[in-house]
């Protein structure tokens, strides 16, 4: 079955300011979507509305077989159900500092999914090997570099076996030389066919990895389509000037 994330007529307000305006969107299984746009355009907000870290005031959200009317109140149970279908990787990693690397990775499956600890440990080790951190399972996050921490955060997200992986500017807090190791992991995941939604400022990465680009400005979607079409765009001045302004970053 092909699962999807779908918003219809979604609006999000912050103190009377409309951060997202009438969003109608579908994210498909197996697709890597990159969300681009200037600062304050609402890209992170859009991503955070998918797992309800921000709750839109109007519209509907569907993930797989869960359908929510957001103009009513969302129950705790519905919120948890949505979140168990997604996993998020944050700009500032947000690893749990009091837990060792492996404990960070197995925390979700053990505490939330109530899976058997021994089986989860095996899987956790496997995921850490996948992101190249087998040798760090017993370290604390404070003993790792930023790039390593973010790879642990990716393993922690994968351990939940989410239907959708959400990335909120995953490399913005990293030095350029550490950025590469994280981007490589993202690229591998994308090639495996994971369903990913990525907010980033890195145009080269978007060009290389994205199946689809969303371009947001002032809470509206100005472009939604194939990556190649976005970068070859000749008609839309706004997109062209955005791409140009990002060239030197």
């Amino acid at each position: 079955m092909d699962f999807i994330v779908q918003f219809s007529n979604m609006h999000k307000f912050f103190d009377g300011h409309e951060a997202l305006k009438n969003i109608n969107l579908t994210f498909n299984k197996g697709e890597t979507t990159v969300i681009l746009g200037p600062s304050g355009s609402g890209k992170s907000t859009l991503l955070r509305c998918i797992n309800l870290l921000e709750t839109p005031e109007r519209g509907t959200l569907s993930i797989d077989d869960i359908h929510l009317d957001l103009s009513g109140s969302v129950s705790k149970k519905e919120r948890l159900a949505i979140r168990q279908n997604t996993a998020m990787v944050f700009q500032s990693f947000n690893l749990f500092p009091h837990m060792k690397v492996l404990e960070n990775v197995i925390e979700g499956p053990v505490t939330v999914l109530k899976k058997e600890r021994i089986a989860v440990i095996e899987k956790g080790k496997m995921l850490l090997a996948k992101v190249g951190l087998s040798h760090k399972t017993e370290s604390y996050p404070s003993q790792l570099s930023g790039g390593q921490q973010q790879r642990v955060a990716i393993a922690r997200a994968l351990a939940m076996e989410p239907k959708f992986l959400l990335f909120d500017e995953p490399t913005s807090a990293l030095d350029p030389e550490l950025e590469g190791e994280v981007l490589k992991v993202l690229k591998d995941l994308s090639e495996e066919g994971k369903s990913m939604i990525i907010v980033t400022h890195n145009l080269n990465f978007a060009k290389e990895v994205a199946d689809r680009i969303l371009f947001l400005e002032n809470g509206e979607i100005l472009f939604d389509g194939e990556t190649k079409k976005f970068f070859d765009n000749k008609e839309n001045d706004r997109i062209q000037s955005f791409i140009q302004s990002m060239q030197f970053i």
Binding site: L53, F90, H98, L113, A153
Partner: protein
């Protein structure tokens, strides 16, 4: 041996004994209850239920805004007028628990607020419930941050127990007063009492250091 030396040696054991049977048990018991009150109060004041915030805010306001000695007198001498007669021990434990609970709730609330919002978001995005986030993610980090301020509250409590002498409980200070009345050596005896308080607090400070080291092993 000088007369002062003899008096000091004679006074040492009765004062220390009062510390062991009154000051220390009273402090430990009151602190244990105060910590439960403090955690509940801190969580209530951080909750999004406004009536809870209001009620517990009122409690903190009253107990931080009035002198401890006056609170003790109201509970011990005042409540009997309402038909509530408490013995000195019970009155002391109730007053000290509520007083320290109010102060410590602020120490704990501050420590919870100090934990980055990203920790809540990361835990919630894994699908954890509020209580799971608190227990697994927030509490362990709160303990580390709140150790210094909460130890402060505990030290204040230990010293504050000297007020129970005024409601008939024979603690270190009261025993000191009695010996002074007999020997007319206030400087000597009260210095001795002070030294034993200092000894207790020194042990507490040492334990704080050990605990902090343990709680910070991940830093």
């Amino acid at each position: 041996m000088s007369r002062e030396m003899e008096i000091a040696l004679e006074a040492f054991w009765p004062v220390l004994k009062a510390g062991l049977v009154v000051t220390i048990p009273l402090s430990l018991l009151s602190f244990a209850i105060a910590m439960i009150i403090a955690v509940v109060t801190a969580l209530a004041r951080l909750s999004n239920i406004s009536i809870l915030r209001y009620i517990f805010g009122l409690y903190v306001w009253i107990f931080r805004g009035t002198p401890l000695l006056v609170q003790l007198f109201i509970v011990f001498f005042g409540l009997p007028n309402l038909g509530i007669v408490l013995d000195a021990w019970t009155a002391s434990i109730i007053t000290f628990s509520l007083n320290t609970g109010a102060y410590a709730s602020e120490s704990i609330r501050a420590s919870i607020i100090a934990i980055p919002k990203g920790q809540w978001e990361a835990a919630e995005s894994l699908g954890m419930t509020y209580w799971q986030v608190l227990r697994r993610i927030i509490a362990p980090q709160t303990i580390r941050i709140s150790l210094p301020p909460v130890t402060n509250d505990f030290i204040d409590l230990v010293k504050g127990t000297s007020l129970v002498a005024s409601i008939t409980l024979a603690d270190m200070f009261m025993i000191g007063q009695q010996i002074t009345a007999r020997t007319y050596e206030p400087l000597l005896i009260y210095s001795l009492v002070a030294a034993i308080y200092l000894l207790f607090i020194t042990i507490l400070t040492f334990m704080q250091g050990r605990l902090e080291k343990y709680a910070s092993k991940y830093i």
